[in-house]
Structures are given as C-alpha cells and as structure tokens.
C-alpha cells in the first residue's frame, strides 16, 4: 500500500546489507561507519551482548516503529547468529493488549501504559506482580512539510502552527507568518491544510505538540483523529506526502522519512530560541532535554516538557515510541533474549536508524536505557 514506506524499508535493508559487508572487515566498527550526519550524537558502536535464551522472540504494536524494528531485527540476527524476533505492526493498542495478555514478549506503543485505563495493573499481572517498564527506544521526528514555491525557507513557531492547523490563519500572506520569517510577507495564497484521514499516532503526537507549544492557540483535543476542523485528509503518510507534493500552498505534518522520500520542504521550528531545522542532531538535542516522568528504570517521558522546551538547537516535534517490557517476571530464557535484543537495538542498530527516518539515541539517553535494559531479569 505504501510505496514510499517500502522504499524506506528497502533503504534500511540495503543499509543493513552494507553493514554486513563492512562488518566482514572489522568486527567492532559497525555503527560509526554508516552514520553520515556530521556532528550527530554518535551512538557508541557495539556493546558486549550476551546472546542466548529464547531463539525466536515475538513483539507486537506500534506501526510508527516498524522501520526501526526492521533495522533492529537485522542487527540482532547479525550479532546473535540464529536468533530472531518477529515484530507484528498492528498498532499500539494491540501491542499493549497482547503484551498484557502474555501473547508477545514485549509490546511497542506510541504512548506509555496508562494507569487510568488499567493498563499498568494488567501489565503488572502479566509480569507476575512486577511492574512493567516503558522504554522509549525509538524516536521518529515529525516534519511540518509545506509546498509554497514562494517560500524557500519557512520558520514556524508552535503558536503559528497551532493557528494554521486550526484554521485561524488561512493565507500565506498573513502578517503573523511574515513576523516569524524576518518580516518578509509572502504573496497571498490560500493555505491548504492536509491531515491524516486515518487514525494515527503521528496525528496524536502532533496535536499534543500543538497544545503544548501553541501558547493556547490550540483549543482542540488531542487524539488519533485530526481535530483541527480545516483542510483535507489523505490516507496514510504516503497520501499526505503526495498531497503536499502536488498542491501549491499545502501544509501538513508527516514522518521525517516521508518528507525525505518526497523531497518536501520542511519548516524550521522556532521555540523561542531561534529557528531550528530538523536533522538528527537537533532532534537528538530535544530528546536529551526531555524529562523522564517514570520512576527508576521506568523511562516514561514527560512529553509536555519535550514539546514545550525552548532549549536552543532543539527540534521538539519528535514522536517517542516505547518498548513495554517486564522489569521482572520473564522466564530466564526469555529475559536473556529480550535483554540481548534490546541491547543490540540500543547500540549496534543505532547507526542504521537515520536512513530509516529515525533519530539515533543521544549518548546520555542511551546509557539510561542500557542501565534499564541490564536491570531486566
């Protein structure tokens, strides 16, 4: 269905292939070689991985981390010969449901377990009375993409984005847009807002961002359905990217990989400390600055602090997706394999993430994650 997604997956596979080839020469130099982004927060290369335990792990959940999972699985199979993981991208809700139901070894979800929905308790029950941890392992930046041949560059503030996506600003010549772009007014042209017609975690996070960073300009609800009340919906990220590519005057939000595939112009975001463009480094800075809401090794993020941060050089519009694992309560075989897989994912596999449209983990954050992963038993 999604040609572009396939293309990016193909890219990830090719990257994995390249890694296999280069790994023939030198065993301990995997990640550094394929990361091209200059100054990107370099994930430390390989780690000591204790392969073993269950041969075939299962996981299920978020579609947003599918591409990253494919990179992780490739790296895992290479690092731990003969071990594999099957990831079933059926959506966050199913991921949580089947994790708490004990159907899969861990779940992938766009949001942390929710206490008020009983998910925390259900997960604790599945983990034989031990708490489940939310490990934010995969970060996918969301780009605000636009198509306006008069605007080579565009800077938006959170407030401006909230106003555009809720229909308060309807024309590119609006003085508020000019004010954020050095006072230069764009020629008059209708803004066509394009949103995801299907339900999506990307929409959910984008609306959370608008409400956190919009300084009150976003009065609508968050949620997986777009609530802005303007514009037109396109099916899937591929449909959104196509619409923006075709329509002069269009603006939308889409995962980074789609924006890259279609060569769409991406708006810079000014959170109060100057315009910041989207790249692995700026997104990494934002992740680094995010506060952890969970306690101990539960690394649930405070998204509000991430989205409303005005850290200089940070691109705050990042979709965080979690792996939901048991802290304790796995049988020994499963625990060993889960630990090995997550360790590979957090270290060796990081080098291939950028090509698949994800942000490699910043160093400091990576060590937090590794501490948590090591504590699984």
């Amino acid at each position: 269905m999604k040609i572009n997604r396939h293309a990016s997956v193909l890219g990830a596979v090719l990257a994995a292939g390249a890694l296999v080839l280069s790994a023939c020469g030198s065993d301990n130099n995997t990640a550094g070689g394929s990361t091209s982004g200059a100054g990107a927060p370099a994930p430390t290369g390989t780690a000591q991985v204790d392969c073993g335990g269950k041969k075939a792990l299962t996981a299920e959940g978020s579609t947003a981390q599918k591409g990253a999972m494919e990179a992780f699985i490739a790296a895992y199979g290479q690092k731990c010969q003969g071990y594999q993981l099957a990831y079933n991208p059926t959506g966050s809700g199913n991921g949580v449901k089947n994790f708490t139901g004990g159907q899969v070894d861990f779940g992938g979800s766009d949001s942390a377990l929710k206490k008020d929905k009983g998910e925390v308790d259900a997960a604790a029950k599945r983990c034989k009375g031990n708490p489940a941890w939310n490990l934010p392992l995969v970060f996918g930046p969301v780009a605000i993409v636009y198509n306006n041949k008069d605007a080579q560059e565009l800077t938006l503030t959170g407030e401006l984005a909230a106003k555009i996506f809720s229909g308060a600003i309807t024309d590119w010549s609006d003085p508020a847009i000019a004010a954020a772009n050095g006072g230069k007014a764009l020629p008059a042209k209708k803004i066509t807002v394009v949103f995801r017609a299907d339900e999506s975690g990307t929409t959910d996070n984008f609306q959370k961002y608008l409400s956190a960073a919009g300084k009150g300009a976003w009065t609508k609800d968050a949620g997986k359905k777009f609530n802005g009340g303007v514009g037109q919906g396109a099916q899937g990220s591929a449909g959104v990217a196509d619409a923006v590519a075709a329509g002069d005057g269009a603006i939308a939000y889409a995962e980074w990989s789609y924006a890259q595939d279609k060569n769409l112009a991406m708006a810079k975001i000014d959170s109060g400390s100057g315009p910041v463009e989207l790249n692995a480094q700026t997104a990494g800075v934002a992740i680094q600055s995010a506060k952890v809401k969970g306690t101990g090794n539960d690394l649930e993020l405070d998204l509000k602090s991430l989205y409303s941060s005005n850290t200089p050089g940070a691109y705050p519009l990042v979709l965080a997706t979690y792996e939901i694992v048991c802290s304790k309560g796995y049988d020994a075989d499963t625990a060993k394999a889960v630990k090995a897989f997550l360790t590979v994912a957090a270290t060796d596999a990081q080098g291939q993430l950028q090509e698949a449209g994800y942000v490699p983990l910043p160093n400091q954050f990576q060590s937090k994650l590794l501490t948590a992963i090591q504590a699984i038993s």
């Binding site: 269905m1 040609i3 959506g91 809700g93 066509t192 394009v194 017609a197 299907d198 339900e199 009340g229 303007v230 514009g231 037109q232 919906g233 396109a234 099916q235 591929a238 449909g239 196509d242 619409a243 590519a245 075709a246 329509g247 002069d248 005057g249 269009a250």
Partner: protein, 352 residues
C-alpha cells in the same frame, strides 16, 4: 423475425458469464437453438441417480445463494439496530457522521451522495467507452485480432483495486492536476466543476476517483456487452447488409437494438461494482470536514471507503454497528440498482 427465445438469451448469458467470443457457428447455434427445458424436470421424470444428484446439487447451490443473501441482510440488521436506536441524528437525512459510542450522532446522507455521485460519474465515462470497445471487438476488429484484444480488456478486471488506487494517487492525480485546475477555472460556472471542498490541484478528488472507477468498470461492461453484440442473429446482419446498409447503419439498426437490454444490464452490473468499490477510493479520496457540494472537485468518503477507513477502530460494537448500518444502506442501494437493471431488461423484452 424477432424470435423471442433468441432475444431473451443475452440477458441470461450476460449474467452467467458464459463462453466468450464464440465463433460464427457457435453464434448460429445459440441464436437458433430452442431453450432446453430445465434439468430438474427431466430428473423428476427419469429418476436416474446422476440426474437426481445433479439436480440436488444445483438446487442446493441455488438455495444456498438465497440463504447467504438473507443471512447477510439479517447480520447487517442485527448489528445495525442497537446503534440506530441510540442515534441522536436522523440516520437517513443527517449529513454529519460521529460514531463515537458515547455520543452517537451519525447520518448517512453525505456518504450516500458521494457514493452515488462518484459512481454515476464513473458510469457516464465508462458506458460510451465500453460500448465503443465492444462494438470494435465484435464488428470492426478482424476475428484474429479480436480475441487477444478481448483478453487484454478482461485483464483489466484482474488488476487488484489497490493497484488502481495507487495508480490514481501517484500517477493520475498529478497528471490531471493541470487539467482539473483548468476545468475549475474556466468551466467553474457549471456546478459540477465549481470549487470543491478540497484542492483540485492536489487531485484527491471525486473527479480523479471517478476516472479510476471508470477504468475499473470498463472490463465488466465491455465483457458483457461484447457477448451480447456477438450474438446478434446473423440473418439480421445479412438482411441489413443486403438492403444496402453501411457498417454504421448495420450497427444502428440491428446490433444496437438487439444488444441494448444486455448493454444496459451490463452497465448496471458495473454500477453495482462502482457503488461497492472500496480500497481504490479509500486511497484516492481526501476526507474533508465540509459537506459534499455536488462538485467533482469535492473530496469526501463513499459508504464503503468510510467503513474501510474506520475499520481499524472497530473495538466497540456500537461504533462498528453504526458503520454496519451504513453498509446496510449500500446493500439496499445495490439491490435497488440490480432490480432496476432487471426491470429495464424485462421492459425491453416486452415490446421488441
């Protein structure tokens, strides 16, 4: 001259999808042969085992069909009644759709209008083109070329609709972008080319979706029409030629009158397909927050695409039931269309 049995044939072969593009000798046999009496009668008379087994099998298959349709109808009804009972809006006349189980407020009118409008638009494009293809294949093309060409047209039907959808989104929509904008700017005073509720330039509109639908209808309408035109009794053709008719006159005076009921029936089959088409429209059409406004440059959702778009959130029986209720409307609509097709065919039989 106008033998009743030969006239009735097109309708029956049309729906059963019998042998295609038969040779001349075949045609003559079909045109002249009397209708065989149904096998069930002879089974009762002779009572041989094979006859009885086959009669039982055929009857069983027929009954199974009826039971299946009834079961689908009943399933839809049972699922649809609870949400309909809780619905705050008028189901048939409201244009808003809110299937949130806590606040059921859904009406099918907008979906229905988009469904019918896009299907009729597709039919308006597909009918003349199919007629042309069918006439070309049966009357103009040399026999040797007609058969492979007919296969090619049939191949169109074998393309999965998701491929049509992707083609529409990735290829046709950008390609028609300029033309759409031109139509909108220059013929915008005609209501169907007026400003729609989505961008004509982006092209995720009923206009593009309808053209894709039309392409999907071509093989269906063509295949059946071709069958019918092919069965024009040779004496009719020869008579017309003997009277000095040109090719066009032959077609006008013999082929078209003979094939009209079958052609219309074929078009209605196509319409049924267009009404129910899901995934191609799901991919192409933009959803919108505004109501449908009778423009080809509107977006929106058809009943089928709306159901498909929401199918991921079917975790509440009431919300799902609201969509099933919409499905019920589509079911009824298709039923009406098919009944209309039958009525047209039957009407023609009366006075020809």
């Amino acid at each position: 001259m106008s033998d009743r049995s030969s006239l009735r044939r097109p309708a029956t072969t049309a729906t059963s999808g019998g042998p295609r593009g038969g040779g001349v000798t075949d045609d003559e046999q079909f045109a002249e042969a009397p209708i065989p009496s149904p096998p069930s009668q002879s089974a009762a008379k002779h009572g041989r085992l094979g006859d009885r087994v086959f009669a039982g099998f055929a009857t069983g298959a027929g009954v199974f069909m009826v039971v299946l349709i009834a079961a689908i109808g009943i399933f839809l009804l049972i699922q649809a009644i609870p949400p309909l009972a809780d619905n705050k809006a008028s189901f048939l006349f409201s244009r808003t759709w809110n299937a949130d189980p806590a606040d059921l407020n859904f009406g099918v009118l907008d979906l229905l209008l988009v469904t019918v409008f896009s299907s009729v638009f597709a039919l308006v494009i597909a009918m003349p083109v199919s007629l042309g293809i069918a006439l070309f294949l049966t009357q103009y093309a040399p026999r040797r070329a007609a058969r492979p060409l007919a296969y090619l047209v049939d191949l169109l039907a074998a393309v999965p609709s998701i491929i049509y959808g992707l083609w529409g989104l990735e290829v046709l929509a950008p390609a028609l972008s300029g033309f759409s904008v031109w139509l909108n700017e220059n013929l915008g005073w005609i209501p169907i080319f007026a400003d729609g509720n989505v961008s004509a330039q982006i092209g995720q509109t009923i206009f593009v979706a309808g053209i894709v639908l039309a392409v999907m209808l071509l093989p269906i309408i063509t295949a059946v029409s071709r069958e019918v035109f092919d069965r024009t009794p040779t004496p009719h053709l020869e008579g017309a030629i003997a009277l000095g008719a040109t090719k066009w006159e032959v077609i006008r005076t013999t082929v078209l009158p003979f094939g009209r009921p079958g052609y219309i029936s074929a078009s209605m089959l196509g319409l049924g397909r267009a009404l129910g088409e899901t995934i191609a429209l799901l991919i192409i059409l933009s959803t919108t927050t505004q109501f449908f406004g009778w423009s080809l440059f509107d977006g929106g959702d058809t009943i089928a695409s709306k159901i498909a778009r929401a199918s991921a959130e079917f975790n509440d029986p009431k919300a799902a039931g609201a969509y099933v209720a919409a499905g019920l409307v589509l079911f009824a609509l298709t039923f009406v269309v098919n009944a209309a097709a039958r009525a047209i065919v039957a009407g023609h039989k009366e006075y020809e």
